[in-house]
Amino acid sequence: MYSVELRDATKRYPGGGAEPVIALDDVDFAVEPGEFVAVVGPSGSGKSTLLNVLGLLDDPTEGRRHLDGTDVTSLSVAERTAARKESIGFVFQDFHLLPTLTAVENVALPTAFDPGDASERAADLLSRFGLGDRLDHEPSELSGGQKQRVAIARSLINEPAVLLADEPTGNLDTETGESILAEFERVKEEGVAVVAVTHDPLVEGFADRVVELTDGVLVGGVPNGDEEGEKSTPIDRTAPAPEDR
């Protein structure tokens, strides 16, 4: 069973003209638990769309989507929110921490409105990422690498099946980027599927598998040996790809 899986997924946006923009073109993509997959490709190739569709922030126009063995192709807004909280962790290029909250509170944000206090678990997670002495610091008092560690801790607060990272090293220097990628390796060892969309060759070096997305067409999206994933997708594109971000 894959942690997250797309089958024949197509994402079309209504373009400015008559032709819709095809951001994902009949994509097959699957990640096993504990696997670290890097998705590479030029700007505008549909990487962010892929991440949004995987992360239940956006729905595919066609095709099926499975999360942890459950079909999550078409869910209501509330169901998607619940599924995101339950099974998906996000790490963003810009960290996206809330400036008014401390590190612990940022980590506990996904559960902040639930009964029960998750701050102990949040503190544990932060300690694991070497931020045990920064628990009550606000984001403005943290360095870029520290912020990204807080973000990773936040993505793990609900023990997700999948961690989705959008250019996780994009705003970090090489050394810090490497240490963040090392954290991803630790995360995947706990059985979490990690998908990172990146331009950074450094990320490719840490990944178990690198897949390439070009103009919405994905190559090598499914682990080797999967029959369904072997089929070749005919490229049939008439419209340019949209802006990536």
Binding site: N52, E79, T81, L98, T100, A112, F113, D114
Partner: protein, 391 residues
């Protein structure tokens, strides 16, 4: 979240628990831009001050007027209808009136005019003949007899003019009469004008009919009912009597002050609406600025409802803070007014009905916050996170 909503527990406690983290987060967000928050709070504060202060001023005016009008509303003056050829009220008429009104006391009066003299001064006054003065009047000095058999009861104005008190002697139409009581100065306007009158026993008059009859009721409503009864029963066949009824006038005066209060409240409400618009503006600006943050919250699994709660709590806190400050300022303002203005009675300012306006303004302040926060909150909570995250 139909599948895994952990907050479907019912009960107020559960619902309040859901709000607590939202309020805590809202408070921090408000602290982030203190100047903007303070200005929005100030707006509500002024609005609430306007509503509460104008409301209370209107109320104090109305209460003051009621005080001044006093209890004239409880009296009905019945006089013979000269147009129908009735010159005086006979004993039968008085009996009819008594039967018609039921419980309220009916005090018939003979009336005449005479020169009344004291030691050093004299005055032209109305002289009434009355048997049971205690039913309709109050004594400031001396005692009103149950049955008025001898002596004179002097109105406050006459007593002052002539410089006489209870126990003194006055001369009325040539005869010396001892003053048994002086009436309390009347607060009211009445055709009987007791201040400028002298009351003698009925035996002093040889007239064959009463000039007027006073109907004294317990309340304005009873007075109105009595007047209606007289109209339907005594005036059933012919218009024998004229009624002078102040209850209707009091009603109109009260209506006027009610209108004035509403008008003043309306003036105040305009400033509260302006305050609401400023909250709307602040909330729209801050949700636009925090679009990405809200998108992140939604992306990591915070529900639309919780985002809505945080933003509504922000607007509600602005409203509540402004309302509390405005209410406090109103209390200070009214206190200052009472201290500085001799005309405003402390009792009027402390009247419990004024509290209604304070509560009303307080409620309006919070309400304005919530109402003007609702649209920006709804808009932000319902934005698709994928759009919000796009920088």
């Amino acid at each position: 979240m139909s599948r895994t909503d952990p907050e479907t527990r019912s009960g107020l406690g559960g619902r309040l628990r859901g709000w607590r983290p939202a309020v805590a987060m809202a408070a921090r967000n408000l602290r982030r831009n203190r100047v903007r928050t303070a200005l929005a709070v100030l707006g509500v504060c002024i609005g609430v001050l306007a509503v509460a202060a104008l409301g209370i001023f209107g109320n104090v005016l109305a209460l003051g007027a009621q005080d001044a009008i006093g209890d004239i509303g409880t009296q009905v003056v019945v006089s013979p209808n000269a147009d129908a050829g009735v010159d005086s009220l006979s004993d039968a008429d008085v009996a009819d009136i008594r039967r018609a009104v039921g419980s309220p006391a009916v005090v018939p009066l003979y009336s005449d005019n005479a020169v009344v003299s004291g030691q050093s001064a004299q005055q032209f006054a109305t002289v009434y003949g009355v048997e049971e003065p205690a039913l309709a009047f109050e004594a400031a000095e001396g005692r009103l007899p149950e049955r008025h058999r001898q002596g004179a009861i002097v109105g406050a104005g006459v007593a002052e003019e002539l410089g006489v008190g209870a126990g003194d002697t006055v001369e009325i139409a040539g005869s010396q009469v001892r003053v048994v009581a002086v009436l309390v100065e009347s607060q009211t306007f009445s055709p009987v004008a007791p201040d400028d009158a002298v009351f003698l026993p009925e035996s002093a008059f040889s007239a064959d009919g009463y000039g007027q009859a006073l109907v004294v009721a317990e309340s304005g409503e009873a007075a109105r009912a009595a007047a209606d009864d007289i109209r339907t029963e005594v005036n059933a066949r012919e218009e024998r009597v004229d009624l002078f009824e102040l209850a209707a006038i009091v009603d109109e005066i009260n209506d006027f002050f009610g209108l004035l209060s509403t008008f003043l409240l309306g003036l105040g409400a305009i400033s509260l609406v302006v305050a609401g618009v400023s909250i709307l503006n602040v909330m729209l600006m801050s949700t636009v600025e925090r679009r990405q943050e809200i998108g992140v919250m939604r992306a990591v699994g915070v529900t639309r409802r919780d985002v809505l709660r945080v933003l509504l709590a922000e607007a509600g806190l602005i409203g509540a803070a402004g309302a509390a400050a405005g209410t406090l300022l109103t209390v200070l303002l009214v206190a200052g007014l009472v201290l500085l203005t001799a005309e405003v009675d402390v009792a009027l300012a402390l009247d419990p009905t004024n509290g209604r306006y304070l509560l009303l303004a307080l409620g309006f302040g919070v309400g304005v916050g919530l109402v003007s926060g609702a649209y920006p909150a709804w808009k932000a909570a319902n934005e698709r996170p994928v759009e919000a995250l796009r920088s």
